[in-house]
């Protein structure tokens, strides 16, 4: 168990009896998304955020995700995208830098550290702002104003908010009866596992992971999340012994094939991210 999880549990008496999945849910409940969670993990390193170990942070986060998946807790897609990105970042930091245009692992780590510092700064600023003596709470205006109406050219009091809300409500009324739910444009790992499982039957030999990806429709984040989800799915399937993975070197294409009956080939390097 990751220690900060235990630490948070101590805050809540209710969690004492909770099952591991309930505990994780309680933990998740307290966060405004994966970046917020990373920040909390970072604070637990008890160092200045400018000297934070991104590598250690990545490990802690991946351990959390592994834990969540062990208890079959469905994580929001954002959390999985972050996990895939951190796994990638970790490999970039640990392995020799490849030639190429891509930002270096160090740059990527620095960018993440900046994001965390900036979020931390905004949280601090918010706290300072709301600690100020606020009007109507700590400081008070004239309780019995004598309405002199010096500036108001119009006798009608209507604000931009009133106007926009009226229009929004009018539009909503017009659309009433039709409930629009924006589709989640992210590929889930469950989908990827199902997809890979069914596809692998049709693939007799090694094939690149890229060849399993769904077609390019959607683009952008959807494609990136599909890659992340499929990558995570191969790890999951490898762990349960259903596929084998092979990679010639760092950043070389990742090959996948269904596990064969006989023993393993000598050159297979199995990649697993299990945390015991």
């Amino acid at each position: 168990m990751v220690d900060w999880v235990a630490e948070r549990e101590a805050d809540s008496a209710a969690s004492a009896e909770a099952s591991p999945s309930e505990q994780l849910l309680l933990v998740l409940d307290g966060f405004e998304g994966p970046l917020d969670m990373l920040l909390a993990l970072g604070r637990d390193q008890k160092v200045d955020l400018t000297r934070i170990s991104i590598l250690e942070l990545a490990d802690q986060y991946l351990a959390f995700v592994a834990e969540a998946r062990k208890v079959r807790l469905e994580l929001a897609a954002d959390y999985l995208v972050m996990a895939a990105w951190l796994a990638y970042l970790k490999s970039r930091l640990l392995l020799p830098e490849p030639e190429g245009e891509e930002p270096s692992g160090e740059d990527m780590a620095a960018a993440l550290a900046f994001q965390l510092q900036r979020l931390e700064a905004m949280k601090g600023a918010a706290a300072q702002l709301f600690a100020r003596p606020r009007l109507g709470i700590a400081v008070h205006s004239r309780g019995a104003p004598e309405d002199l109406d010096l500036r108001r050219k119009s006798v009608y009091e209507v604000t931009l908010f009133d106007l926009l809300r009226a229009y929004g409500q009018q539009r909503a009324r017009k659309d009433a009866g039709v409930l629009h739910i924006a589709p989640v444009r992210l590929y889930s790992m469950e989908e990827a596992v199902r997809r890979l499982s069914s596809l692998l039957g049709h693939m007799p030999d090694w094939a690149t992971l890229a060849s399993f990806l769904p077609g390019g429709e959607g683009g952008g984040l959807l494609t990136r999340s599909a890659l992340a989800a499929h990558f995570a799915a191969t790890l999951e399937l490898a762990k349960s012994g259903r596929v084998e993975l092979r990679q010639e070197g760092a950043f070389a294409p990742l090959y996948v094939r269904g596990r064969r009956q006989g023993g393993r080939d000598g050159d297979i390097s199995e990649e697993t991210h299990s945390h015991d």
Binding site: D149, Y156, R165, Q169, Q170
Partner: protein, 205 residues
């Protein structure tokens, strides 16, 4: 105003009470009676009130005794210079706000188009009211049968709502993203209830 007292800490405490009394009277919506004030500043409230009254007597704001309580009021002799506007500010009707919003978003727009968007007949008075207010004005006639008059917003409209140009009006997508275009059923006239639920929902998120 503050008398010299030999005992320094006592003087300071007295100033503190006087300041609190001043703030309480300023912030209160209604006159405060001596009993209530005594509960906050202590039994010597009568002396303190007299001191405040004396301090404010020559100023633009006076401390006056009214009914059973005390309150600050602007000085009576300034009344002619402070004369209120006769018309008290009123809330614009819902129909008028909606009509104004539709003109803003759909201009140039004819009355028939406004009615078809709103789904109800628009009383002539609504457009007249908005025009009297300087928020909308007639635009060009539409070159269609009947050549109906179109309505557009004015510069005063932009000014009133603090917009630099019409392009700065949030788009429908912006409204949706900001939570101002809500697909949940809207209960007319129950704005407050709706807001509360939105607040609660946000907390859970």
């Amino acid at each position: 105003m503050i008398k010299e007292v030999t005992d320094a800490p006592e003087a300071e405490a007295r100033i503190g009470r006087l300041r609190l009394l001043e703030a309480l009277l300023f912030a209160s919506a209604d006159p405060l009676d001596e009993e209530t004030l005594a509960g906050r500043v202590g039994p010597e409230v009568g002396v303190l009130l007299e001191e405040l009254r004396a301090h404010y007597a020559p100023r633009g704001v006076n401390l006056v005794r009214t009914g059973g309580g005390w309150a600050f009021r602007t000085a009576v002799d300034l009344a002619p210079e402070l004369r209120r506007e006769e018309e008290v500010s009123r809330k614009l009707s819902r129909a008028a706000i909606e009509t104004l919003a539709i003109v803003a978003y759909h201009q140039p727009v004819t009355r028939a188009e406004i009615e078809s968007i709103r789904g109800v007949a628009t009383s002539k008075g609504t457009l007249d009211l908005l025009m009297e207010h300087g928020w909308i004005r007639p635009g060009k006639r539409r070159e269609t049968p009947g050549r109906p008059l179109t309505w557009i917003t004015t510069d005063h409209f932009l000014d009133h709502f603090g917009l630099e140009t019409l392009r700065d009006l949030p788009s429908v997508d912006d409204l949706r993203a900001a939570g101002l275009l809500d697909s949940r059923p809207v209960l007319l006239g129950l704005g407050t209830t709706g807001d509360d639920s939105a607040l609660g929902a946000d907390d859970e998120a």
